[in-house]
């Protein structure tokens, strides 16, 4: 733990010393090419240990089955998207279904590929989780952008410490009652995010269907949807309701999440 903290501290010091801002690097990335991607500033690279602690997949991890599951999911999405990129909604059929876990790791799997980038948009007003990955302290996020005219797009996109993975956290206005997603502004934001880089896949982490109506509006803004079904956590009716909420034509498929496994007896179970 202490080593990680030291590493984080060191990274921050470096960032401050160079005076470079993440949004500056984002602004620079005008042209769309792999060179550009290669030149993306990565102020911090999280160690594999830290990734393991945060339940984030990485190419050389021990649990290859889990990594490959996400890789396969990524491949399906990339194939479906064809030559371009896509906005993918990830939601779960019941609360605590692991939608955020799947969204984060799907983004990570996309970022494995050196020719693609992933942008994880945290739209889960009830339980935002991705802010912890953002390198900056108290970062501006989606809600800030939607509320405040002054905030630019570049200001809310933050590096995550994982190469080619950027995050738009929820921001400072975490009021779950607010109707952010009905605004025209978010539509424009999503269009802009998608159209700016053709290699950038946008993963939208939406709250569980059962607890929030936001999913319906968010789904409207997305190209595809992935429904996370927690193992032994949802009934037929809940799943039906979720499918209906995201729209059947948009639904790529389901992911069964959190099937029990054993770290000790992994080989046999």
């Amino acid at each position: 733990m202490s080593k990680i903290e030291e590493a984080l501290k060191k990274a921050k010091e470096m960032q401050l010393a160079s005076g470079s801002q993440p949004l500056a690097s984002e602004a620079l990335a005008d042209a769309t090419s792999s060179d550009e991607i290669a030149r993306m500033s990565e102020p911090l690279r999280r160690s594999e240990t830290e990734l393991a602690m945060r339940r984030i997949i990485f190419p050389s991890m021990r649990e290859t089955a889990i990594r490959d599951a996400f890789r396969n999911l990524r491949t399906s999405i990339v194939q479906k998207a064809g030559t371009g990129n896509a906005i993918v909604l990830v939601t779960s059929s019941s609360e605590h279904g692991g939608g955020s876990f799947v969204a984060r790791n799907l983004a990570a799997a996309i970022a494995f590929d050196e020719n693609r980038t992933a942008l994880l948009v945290d739209c889960n007003l009830r339980a935002p989780t991705h802010e912890e990955l953002v390198v900056n302290e108290n970062p501006l996020g989606l809600t800030d952008f939607l509320r405040d005219q002054e905030v630019a797009v570049a200001e809310i996109i933050h590096p995550s410490g994982i190469p080619r993975l950027r995050i738009i956290p929820i921001g400072r206005n975490k009021d779950p009652g607010s109707e952010y997603f009905a605004l025209l502004k978010i539509q424009r934001l999503f269009r802009e995010l998608k159209e700016r880089y053709r290699e950038r896949f946008i993963i939208v982490d939406a709250p569980a269907v059962a607890v929030s109506a936001d999913v319906r509006m968010l789904a409207e803004l997305c190209d595809f949807a992935v429904l996370v079904v927690p193992y032994a956590g949802s009934t037929d009716t809940q799943i039906d309701a979720a499918v209906e909420a995201v729209g059947e034509q948009r639904l790529l498929g389901t992911i069964i999440n959190d099937e029990p496994s054993s770290a000790v007896l992994g080989r046999w179970i």
Partner: protein
């Protein structure tokens, strides 16, 4: 649930692992509880006595040939009837120490104990004439005592029953004897009465009668012959008489009559020597004499009136023929009347003969009844003596046909299901029962666990199955937990083994 068996098992294992603490806990609890149950399982001791039973009843041989003997049923069944009887069991309850001495004798409690004893008693046929009485109890000494007591009481009861049976047999036969005696007396009386009432009904009467009948018939035919002869003679005399002159000399007529009367008188005297006055011949001769005297008197008168005239003298031949004709006529009449008499006697005799035949048939019948009854009576008398002997034998138990062949022993080895059975069963059940319950829960749980269900029920494609991703800390904790659980499971098995060994060696 997916249809594939391996998938079902896999899901079962997954859920079992997810709830591993509960599973191991349940295993430990079940296995230990069952093992402890095995240790504390009540021990029973088994003892038995074997009784030899003679396969014969008293009434059978006694009544052989005279009455049908009912077949003897299963000996063990009879023994069971006796042993399970309330009388015997109540005796055992009081003597075998089922009740503490100061305990009030509550009929309900005794009933309960009796039922218990019944359940723990087994009566079987082990050989041709051997009945085994088996009894199990938690107390070895009591098991022996009860098995022994049951055997003894069974014999006592059976012998008493046997004695009762032979007494009953004797009294039955005795009663029969008395009955037959009465019957015989009545028949005897009857026969005597009949004999008195029917004088003809005696031995030889029929022969006698037949003899007499023949005699009468012979006489009758002889008389018939005589009659015919007499009639011929009369007819011939009558013919001769018509050809003769009536008289030649009247004067001699009166003398002739006198001579004739004298002749008849001498005839009458001769008859009276042998016959009574009423005899027909006597009567007839008397009549003739009277008639002749009358005629003679008339002739005398006529003679006196015509004295000197001397008109006519009767013809002697004529007179003689007339006399003979008279005689012939008389003979005919005599024989006719004899024939009538003989006929009457014949009819009488025939009537008597018929009566004799009837009486003989009746007598034969009555005699037969009497003889049969006498035979049965004598037979019964013999049997009664035999029954008396058997009864006395049974009373003194000289002819004992039952004995304890093998007395009950003191059992040393308790009968209980082996502890190993409980120990291994507990371990097995400790594994199977939680899995079974888990399987049931899985079957009943509507929540989805498998992609096959999603596609089957909702038509959704599954892009992948993501298993739980452990953080390093979680993995370490899990490793520790699994190790602990393994130790607990092993410890449980070891403890069960230790309990089993201690119990077998008698340490517990």
């Amino acid at each position: 649930m997916p249809a594939n068996l391996t998938e079902i098992l896999r899901l079962l294992l997954l859920d079992a692992y997810r709830r591993r603490y509960m599973m191991v806990g349940a295993f430990m609890a079940i296995a230990l509880v069952i093992t402890v149950m095995g240790v504390t399982w009540p021990r029973t001791y088994n003892s038995y006595s074997t009784v030899y039973v003679e396969d014969r009843s008293v009434i059978g041989p006694l009544m052989e040939g005279a009455a049908v003997q009912s077949p003897l049923a299963d000996r063990a069944m009879i023994a069971r009837e006796v042993i399970y009887g309330r009388k015997l069991l109540t005796q055992i309850v009081h003597t075998a120490g089922f009740l503490s001495p100061d305990e009030p004798s509550d009929p309900l409690r005794i009933d309960g104990i009796v039922e218990g004893i019944k359940e723990r008693t087994l009566v079987t046929n082990v050989g041709e004439n051997l009945v085994r009485i088996e009894y199990s109890d938690s107390d070895a000494e009591r098991a022996q005592f009860v098995a022994q007591k049951m055997g003894e009481l069974f014999i006592t009861e059976s012998l008493a029953a046997k004695s009762r049976e032979s007494e009953t047999a004797y009294s039955f036969i005795d009663q029969q004897v008395k009955e037959y005696q009465g019957k015989l007396k009545a028949l005897d009386e009857n026969l005597k009465e009949f004999r008195n009432a029917n004088a003809d009904a005696r031995a030889g009467a029929d022969v006698d009668s037949a003899h007499r009948l023949t005699e009468l018939r012979d006489r009758l035919s002889q008389l018939d012959q005589e009659l015919r002869e007499a009639e011929i003679r009369r007819a011939s005399l009558e013919g001769q008489l018509t050809g003769e002159a009536q008289s030649t000399n009247l004067s001699s007529r009166s003398e002739h009559y006198r001579a004739r009367i004298a002749e008849l008188q001498s005839q009458l005297d001769t008859l009276l020597l042998t016959y009574h006055e009423s005899y027909p011949d006597v009567v007839r001769i008397k009549d003739q004499i009277a008639e002749l005297e009358h005629v003679a008197t008339n002739v005398d008168k006529g003679t006196a009136s015509a004295a000197g005239a001397g008109i006519l003298i009767s013809n002697p031949l004529y007179q003689e023929l007339r006399g003979e004709l008279y005689e012939a006529r008389t003979t005919v009449r005599t024989i006719t009347s004899r024939i009538q008499e003989t006929r009457r006697q014949l009819t009488q005799e025939e009537e008597r003969n018929r009566r004799i035949q009837e009486a003989a048939a009746e007598l034969a019948e009555r005699t037969r009844d009497y003889e049969v009854t006498t035979q049965i009576y004598q037979d019964l008398l013999r049997r009664r003596e035999a029954a008396r002997v058997s009864m006395n034998l049974d009373r003194t138990q000289e002819g004992v046909t039952m004995r304890v062949e093998e007395p009950a022993f003191l059992p040393h080895q308790a009968i209980a299901p082996p502890l190993a059975f409980f120990a291994s069963g507990g371990i097995l059940l400790g594994v199977l029962l939680p899995f079974g319950v888990l399987f049931g829960i899985q079957q009943a749980d509507p929540r989805i666990r498998h992609p096959a269900v999603l596609s089957e029920r909702l038509g959704l494609t599954t892009l992948g199955v993501v298993r739980h991703l452990h953080t390093p800390r979680e993995a370490a904790m899990e490793a520790r937990g699994v190790a602990t659980l393994g130790l607990v499971a092993i410890a449980t098995v070891v403890v069960i083994g230790a309990i089993s060994i201690m119990s077998i060696t008698g340490a517990i």
